[in-house]
């Protein structure tokens, strides 16, 4: 029977190679997320931060407000335009009927 399984040195080499390749793969995984299953409330936020959270929160809320107000304004503006056009067309039809 042919012994296809490599010797101890070869096996050690294979395991070492697998570990060497797998380490960078694990390192490339995205960082583990905090609070995935549920949120735990605390009374105070961390005092020292590398990325300022306040700026991100203000931008997020500001963006949402601007988007919503902008969209509502766009509906109001488009509606006004269509209604003015409707009025103008109705007047033209009325004028045409009176002449005809």
């Amino acid at each position: 029977m042919t012994n296809w399984w490599p010797g101890r040195a070869a096996r050690a080499l294979v395991i070492a190679a697998a570990l060497a390749f797998s380490t960078p793969v694990f390192a490339l995984q995205p960082p583990t997320a905090a609070a995935q299953d549920g949120f735990v409330p605390v009374s105070r936020a961390a005092q020292q931060e590398t990325i300022p959270a306040a700026r991100l929160v203000v931008i997020a809320y500001g963006f949402a407000w601007v988007m919503l107000l902008g969209y509502l304004w766009s509906i109001w503006s488009r509606l006004g335009k269509v209604e003015r056009e409707l009025l103008a067309v109705s007047r033209r039809i009325d004028a045409g009927e009176r002449r005809g």
């Binding site: 609070a35 549920g38 735990v40 409330p41 605390v42 929160v57 409707l86 039809i93």
Partner: protein, 218 residues
Amino acid sequence: MRKLFLPLTVVAAGMFMMAPFLIDGAPYESTMGLVQKIFYFHVPSAMTMFVSAFVCGISSAVFLFKGRAAADRLAVAAAELTSVFGIIVLVTGPLWARKAWGVWWVWDERITSTFVLWLIFNAYLLLRKYGGAGSERLAAGLAIFGMANVPFVYWSVNVWRTLHPKTTVVPTLQPGMRGPFWFCVTAFLLLYVLAITARAHLEAERARLEEIYLSIEE
């Protein structure tokens, strides 16, 4: 609805003005701190986006199978609102992720599928605008598939391994967080009802104008 429109607009405006005070009073999350407060606008926007996708899909199905023009007008309004709330979700999410995960964007299942959902409804709007005659039926078919995508987006965090918080977050919210959160959800849904009513009315007025022009030509 016409009689209720103005009082409801005042209520919605009041709710949106009151929301920042309630959010400010809510407790901080232990691991994420202040940035977690984006949650109070991010998740209600996502919920409204899902509701809007369903409204668009169901109205499109009614239009396709029953041929009702009013359903088609509602579908157009809902598609536009899905896109608007989708932008809010896709912008506020990365702002939260930058602090919580250290990156702006990760191509994980929840984020990618939300982006695809948003693209589908933008494709719907582009098809309606530039598709020419008959595009409303094609777009209606697209909206049904867009709606079918919603459950996959919702469950993606539970099925695949992802960085995004799971669906268990909302049902397990602590009392201090629960109140402001559901207040914001109500405000967003109320605003959605008002916006879709106004947008569908705009579509009805456009249809009326088109009918008048057609009758003049004849």
